[in-house]
């Protein structure tokens, strides 16, 4: 067990995957964006040169190559860089990777890990700040993993690379230097198991990826106001831990769903819909959604902040849920 960064834990997981399985291939891109952690990938580049291929800037072709290699028996990883770029490869992911197993009646599989850096990153502007998780959750056949901690990224990546399904593995660049305790040994966290990152009883904050940290900060603020907030990290959206989601909603009766996707048809909308279905009677207030606003992401910081989910907005949403009157007359 050592205290390491998210980036280091991620790199360790990729390295372990290369070491443990000769079928793992890397269709080169960028794991760590332009961050200081870029050099972490030198290790697997140097140790497994025959399994690392450098690609042109051609996202659709690169993802297609990975899917084809997977169909032929490999387990490729494609780090596409900013999640925005995945829109160039949308067709191959939706129409080939996600349907390959189904369409073949279970005869073939396409176990690619599509890794991308999603979300509002600070100055990314309208074209480098995309969060495609809502759109990807709307695509049957695709696993969707959104780790929030060093421990989780290692275990979830190990599960994703071993899974026989294509997986979108989304990392927020602001997570890369988050530190945490990570076991030295190999382990996998089963996909579809949510994690209570903080226990609470008054209100449930439900999130993934970076927004788990927004939720944790909001929970600390709420604590100072005498409110006990539970933070549920869903960790993976497909498969979804519906039981854990329903359990926290039942426990507190008040749910705030946080996401940095645009609001309509966001993951927060889906969480709201599921919670309302599962716990209609137990809910004491409508599910609050804290998402990116329905606007492109502007470059300038105050503008960016205004449209982003923030700690203050989560605190305010929790307060609204807590203040929701028991009956119309209250």
């Amino acid at each position: 067990m050592a205290r390491i960064t998210f980036a280091q834990a991620f790199a360790d997981a990729v390295y372990l995957s290369f070491s443990n399985d000769p079928n793992v291939l890397l269709i080169w891109g960028s794991f760590f964006g332009l961050s200081q952690y870029r050099s972490l990938s030198d290790r697997f580049r140097k140790e497994f040169p025959d399994r690392v291929a450098f690609t042109p800037t051609s996202e659709l072709g690169n993802c297609g190559i990975a899917i084809g290699a997977a169909i032929a028996g490999a387990r490729p990883i494609v780090p596409v860089g900013a999640a925005s770029f995945i829109f160039r490869a949308w067709d191959q992911i939706q129409h080939e990777a996600a349907v390959a197993r189904y369409m073949s009646n279970g005869m073939i599989k396409a176990p690619v890990v599509f890794h991308m850096l999603h979300g509002i990153r600070g100055g990314g502007g309208p074209q480098h700040s995309q969060s495609p998780q809502a759109m990807l959750w709307n695509c049957p056949g695709l696993e969707l993993v959104m780790p929030s901690t060093p421990y989780d990224v290692k275990g979830l990546f190990r599960a994703a690379i071993q899974s026989d399904n294509p997986t979108a593995f989304l990392v927020h660049p602001k997570l890369l230097d988050v530190e945490g305790e990570v076991p030295d040994e190999d382990y996998a966290i089963p996909l579809g198991k949510a994690d209570i990152k903080r226990d609470g009883k008054d209100v449930s904050l439900v999130a993934t990826s970076l927004q788990v940290h927004t939720a944790m900060a909001a929970a600390a603020d709420l604590q100072a106001m005498g409110v006990s907030a539970e933070v549920l990290d869903l960790r993976t959206l497909r498969p979804l831990d519906r039981d854990a989601l329903a359990a926290t909603a039942r426990k507190t009766g008040r749910v705030v769903a946080i996401d940095d996707c645009p609001p309509h048809c966001s993951t927060a909308s889906e969480i709201a819909a599921i919670v309302s279905e599962e716990c209609f009677r137990e809910l004491k207030a409508p599910v609050e959604r804290v998402t990116r606003m329905d606007a492109p992401i502007p470059f300038s910081p105050l503008l960016e902040d205004y449209v982003s989910p923030t700690v203050d907005k989560v605190v305010a949403a929790a307060q609204r849920a807590l203040a929701y009157p028991k009956s119309a007359g209250d």
Binding site: G64, G68, R238
Partner: protein, 344 residues
């Protein structure tokens, strides 16, 4: 390059050609009879391309194809019955009825996945080649696609990567619309390509290319054999443009067999007169008649042998149709199988 073809291969080729022709004719009839719905694409007129190319491959080689895939599977040896059943949406279909005509595939014969999107399989095939190369396996990947796929950016991207990485892949572009190049798109729907010759595009990416008469089975076979050798030798990808004249029944939207009718092979050896309508088709272009005509002329096969094969194959297809029609539709409850693999 020896274009000759010995008797066993000629018989094998004949089998493929006739299987395809009779399959497609039967399929057209099923569609006319309302036995299945939706859009479909016949391989009539291109049989020699698929049969010749696939004869040059080894069983371990992997094949990817398109919406116009029937001929490739039959040439590869896939049983026509589950193919027909798949097109009819039956439980006994190759894919249990999940894919239909657009997506016929046969993993057991190394045709793992067929995309119905123009150009969709081209990067997939390059990916398979990448896998073979990185494992050091002596296998090639082959992808068949139409001239229309040359218009899609994904094709260009896959060409570029294949050439950069010197992948063992053979790109077979089946140009069934050879008059479309270099013409402004306004002359035709859909679209067009600004190249005056399709092979200029892969050439610009430093790829080896060859233009072959796609109706000449032996030429296709020889070209793919040579390409396969080059791939295995590590010389990188080969692009083959297989040019065929459009079958008169290739209507813009729906195939129309009524124009040329069920093929009477007797036209290949004078047992049946060639009608005036579509005379050039029957005399020069139809690749099945052409193969039979050449084989008879060369004295390698005779009309009797060919007719006997034809009768057997026609019978086989009829039986396949009958059994496919008799099979059940998959029940709805199976619809959620195989969306995701079980988590291990």
């Amino acid at each position: 390059m020896d274009k000759g073809i010995s008797r066993p291969y000629a018989l094998e080729a004949l089998e493929g050609l006739l299987l395809i022709r009779r399959f497609e004719e039967a399929l057209f009839q099923l569609w006319k009879d309302g036995k299945f719905l939706g859009h479909y694409h016949l391989y009539i007129g291109q049989e020699a391309t698929g049969v010749g190319a696939i004869q040059a491959l080894k069983p371990a080689d992997m094949i990817f194809t398109t919406h116009r895939n029937h001929g490739h599977l039959l040439a590869r040896g896939t049983d026509p019955e589950p193919m027909m059943a798949e097109i009819l949406g039956r439980e006994t279909g190759l894919l249990g009825g999940r894919g239909g005509t657009f997506h016929l595939a046969d993993p057991a014969h190394n045709i793992p996945h067929t995309s119905g999107l123009v150009g969709g399989c081209i990067p997939l095939a390059a990916g398979a080649a990448h896998r073979f190369k990185s494992c050091g396996e002596d296998r090639v990947s082959v992808v068949f696609f139409g001239d229309g796929a040359m218009e899609e950016g994904v094709t260009f991207e896959a060409f570029n990567i294949a050439s950069l990485w010197r992948l063992p892949i053979i790109f077979v572009c089946e140009n069934n619309d050879p008059t479309a190049q270099g013409r402004p798109a306004n002359d035709r729907i859909p679209g067009a390509i600004a190249a005056t010759h399709l092979d200029q595009i892969p050439k610009s990416l430093s790829m080896t290319t060859q233009v072959v008469d796609g109706a000449d089975l032996a030429a296709m076979r020889a070209a793919v054999m040579a390409a396969r050798k080059a791939c295995i030798a590590g010389e990188g990808p080969v692009f083959i443009e297989a040019v065929t004249k459009g079958w008169p029944g290739s209507a813009t939207q729906w195939p129309d067999l009524s124009k040329t009718g069920r093929t009477d092979l007797g036209m290949a050896w004078g047992a049946k007169p060639i009608p005036d309508s579509y005379r050039t088709w029957f005399e020069d272009e139809d690749p099945v008649l052409r193969f039979c005509r050449e084989q008879v002329a060369a004295g390698q096969l005779d009309g009797e042998t060919i007719s006997a094969h034809d009768a057997r194959i026609t019978q086989r297809i009829a039986a396949a149709v009958e059994r496919a029609l008799a099979a059940a539709l998959p029940s709805g409850a199976r619809a959620l199988d195989h969306v995701l693999a079980e988590v291990r």
